[in-house]
Symmetry: C2
Subunit: 339 residues, 2 copies
Amino acid sequence: MAVTIRDVAALAGVSPSTVSRTCKDNPSISEETKEKVRLAMAKLGYEPNFQASNLASQNSRTIGIVLPVSERFIYVNSFFLEIIRGITQYCNSRQYITTIIAGETEDEALQTIRSMVRNGLVDSFILLYSKQKDPITSYLYNEGILFALIGKAYHFANQTIYVDTDNILAGQNATEYLINLNHHHIGYIGYERSLIFSSDRKYGYSLAHYEHNIPLNHDYSVEVRYSPNQMPEELMQLLRRPDRPTAFVVADDFLGIALERCCRECGLSIPNDISVVSFNNSLFAELSSPPLTSIDINSVQLGIEAATQIINHAENPNLPSTKIIVPHRIVERESCKKL
Amino acid sequence: MAVTIRDVAALAGVSPSTVSRTCKDNPSISEETKEKVRLAMAKLGYEPNFQASNLASQNSRTIGIVLPVSERFIYVNSFFLEIIRGITQYCNSRQYITTIIAGETEDEALQTIRSMVRNGLVDSFILLYSKQKDPITSYLYNEGILFALIGKAYHFANQTIYVDTDNILAGQNATEYLINLNHHHIGYIGYERSLIFSSDRKYGYSLAHYEHNIPLNHDYSVEVRYSPNQMPEELMQLLRRPDRPTAFVVADDFLGIALERCCRECGLSIPNDISVVSFNNSLFAELSSPPLTSIDINSVQLGIEAATQIINHAENPNLPSTKIIVPHRIVERESCKKL
DNA sequence: ATATTTAATGCAAGCGGTTGCATGGAGTTG
DNA sequence: CAACTCCATGCAACCGCTTGCATTAAATAT
């Protein structure tokens, strides 16, 4: 059996409570005694029992990471895994643990979450998505359970902790990058409006136009349903037009790859005929041909920030609900050309 | 405060121990009483406290999922995330939980694992990789801690639980698929020999040649270091040879994409000049142009099997260390052509 | 009818910590 | 020097559940 607080107490010649207080660095224990106890702990290789400690102090230093349900979203490159890494590494360093919640359906996930809350296993959550009318978000919000969103909050935004990229700014920056390469006919390829990250990026794209006094051509923007392996006919038509855009901002690397394929089919060259800037800087951007210039959104950092927020709030319940913006940066590759 | 076993006991008019035994479906409680207790549990929405239960019964229904350290490997498409989903879903359904361990370095990960073991947080592990001379594997093995490998065990193979694809067979099948399309000049592109999955696939590739009495041309096989965005000059030379292979088996979708890029540079068309079969059937295979015919290795199932094994062994310590082979299947797309 | 077995349940001592309160001794004060 | 603080530590109850053993009542055997 592992070494317990009593063993340490015995060796140090103090009571278990003194050991416990030493672990917490309680000021009412003299530095002298603490040293003695620490020595004993080191000698025995003592590690406080996580479960016992949680049980006694009525908390659980455990954060639930909720994966989005939809299969499609899951695949979005290494995004999720990077966030998970970020969260986990930070949590481990602060003696918290994480547990993954992955349901086949929303109901299943909600069920799991409910029971984890009820049985005291998990007391806070990080959702790796943000969407409208999500029963999980509502549940957590209504029960007053601590949670953070990766992405932008829809409802209760003011009372919700979230960590996000400034997608509007990112969209603007991507577009400005192309404008600086003398592109004035820039298209946007994104997803349906309900996916906020895409519509924000698009909004940034228009902002850049306004600020640079470049007219915005509305039929230069194309909407793709969330399955980039089937690009709409509309796009092909756009590419075949004589007055087609000379550059595109596309909502993520998937669409970047899909656009590359379309161009190939139309006999257009990237970057000679068309320049492309995409988002996420996933491995896809690196491996595609040509490799894509892409906005890196720093997923690992998103995870770290979310974990930081959650732990700080867990330990200090009356902090205000913060919103954190993680900066992005452009990674230049071979998909853009100066006109 | 949440509802406890005492509340249930009080409502049902029995003792806490009876409630506890009812939860475990202990045969020494009469069916009649159990019904009464179950009713009370339902009425109160009782969920047993995970930590308390673990503390009392001296176990932790928690499985640590260890991610590989190397950044590069992490990215291998959706592989890891799918496995994590598989493990997590299965665990949740059996009332186990999972926790992710992600270290920046091997030492850091080992440190985390050590302390999780010592403080009783985790008592079994699933490693999402398998490599030689891994300090984590050695530690777990030497301490006699229950663990399973995804991949093929190197050392202690006979005493280790592992879940794997039959990569030799998969390599053979991929090759036979091309042979059946009348290809007789087939190349193999893989990684350095120390990556067993790659060398096994290559071995299967040769087996297929022998079985079909097709001579194996050794300079048709190319080895790439684990960074597929830089293909070796050797491959380009091979592609430019007049007697170049008409088809390739490549160790994973990354290499498939990389090969596509090389072909494009050499002015070769896939599938017209070169046919390609790759492995893993990741999103990369779907999105590349042309989409790649790829061997699906069923990652979610790998995760489920690993979790099943671990839980069974945890609950029944003298089971023999099993090896599980998860079947693969070929997914046909547009990268192959009949000669 | 009494002794003995058996089945069903309860008692109470843990599991390994935490923490409010009591305690004791050193230090301060008048 | 008695009275009083105050600081450092210990005591013991408790967190919610598990489980070996005792207990009781019913069933069976003698």
